[in-house]
Symmetry: C2
Subunit: 244 residues, 2 copies
Amino acid sequence: MSAIVTAAMVVIGDEILSGRTQDRNIGYLATLLTAAGIDLKEVRIVPDEEDEIVAAVNALRERYTYLFTTGGIGPTHDDITADAIARAFGVPCEYDSKAYAMLEATYAARGLEFTEARKRMARMPEGAEHIANPVSTAPGFRIGNVHVMAGVPAVFQAMMDNVLPTLHTGTKMLSAMVPCPLGEGVIGGPLAEIQKRHPDTIIGSYPKFGEGRFSTELVVRARSPEALEAARAEIEKMVAELAA
Amino acid sequence: MSAIVTAAMVVIGDEILSGRTQDRNIGYLATLLTAAGIDLKEVRIVPDEEDEIVAAVNALRERYTYLFTTGGIGPTHDDITADAIARAFGVPCEYDSKAYAMLEATYAARGLEFTEARKRMARMPEGAEHIANPVSTAPGFRIGNVHVMAGVPAVFQAMMDNVLPTLHTGTKMLSAMVPCPLGEGVIGGPLAEIQKRHPDTIIGSYPKFGEGRFSTELVVRARSPEALEAARAEIEKMVAELAA
């Protein structure tokens, strides 16, 4: 009996959709969750528009065990994630006294003014709990199953280090890769037969194109090591026979 | 009067969600569309599951001028995009005679068998038009406002070269960047005031973290060159004053 834990991600930011900034958080989170036995099932990239953020968050938080968001929690006018999450949960967005005091102390220690903009970073939905930010103080937060984090990769990654130990993890999805010198057109038929014989595995075929020709990486995924090995061995045999 | 043309993208593939493959098509499409005056408004990454693909395609094709999909159009059992798109449009998915003949001739010329797997690549929704694939023959297709393309970046990019000239383009969104040595906490308040005074622009603030401190890139976007320049000049003046 495998425990399945699922997740989705919402990436918030016009800069990703305009191509100005290359997202670096999706691949990071995907790899981290897979290693932890949590299945990332969907990612949405949405603009800095409250209605869009609310719609994406509400659609995904109800379907999956966990939702992770990145972006839009800084001090400027286009940082509207805290308000959007509060609206998604139907609660007020207010100054969090602990976050406020922490930020106030940090800026005082650095001899910097605690501006209205900086105070914005202490705002979060009522009932939210902090996600510590060891890089630059201003915390992310968790409310329900939604984890709200920074978009700057160094900060996001540091926050995830704090989030990961708090998550329920599932039976880890194992994977094995069989390299294949042949294109998908040759192996497609036999591979589909192997998939049919091994319904408790997910077999993927990933074409690569280089030096004017296609080759393939065949990847089996399964939660059971025995199921994985049985399918892997059949695929290896198939490749050896077809490539001979 | 600006013409606004919008777009969304669906990235199809378990391999992106597992972290096994790093997506390289989102940033490429975002940059290409922005340069063409088309606003990319949402991206969804979904697994190789027909229901998920159908739901994402139907949600997005009705909201935006164009929808672009990548992935899942190869010859293997996990390539289910053509079937999913046909179901989304409520039409049959059948062998396209032109694509079939083209693939048959290509494999014959290369002395290769036209396997059942390879024949799969000739399947498309009834009424679809080809998107030529100069890299590896098997075409993508367009049906309605949905453009269905390969996930392999070299093939996707070659297909987009053929798609781009067929698109209606809008008034191009112009942008200007003002580098700022200060963090967002200092500039956030004054920047919000500038945004209020320039409602026909979109002003974004993008924090960067390096060498132990934050700096910021302030980006103004507008469709009118005059509106862009007016906001840019104010931001530049603000940065000069605050950094003095």
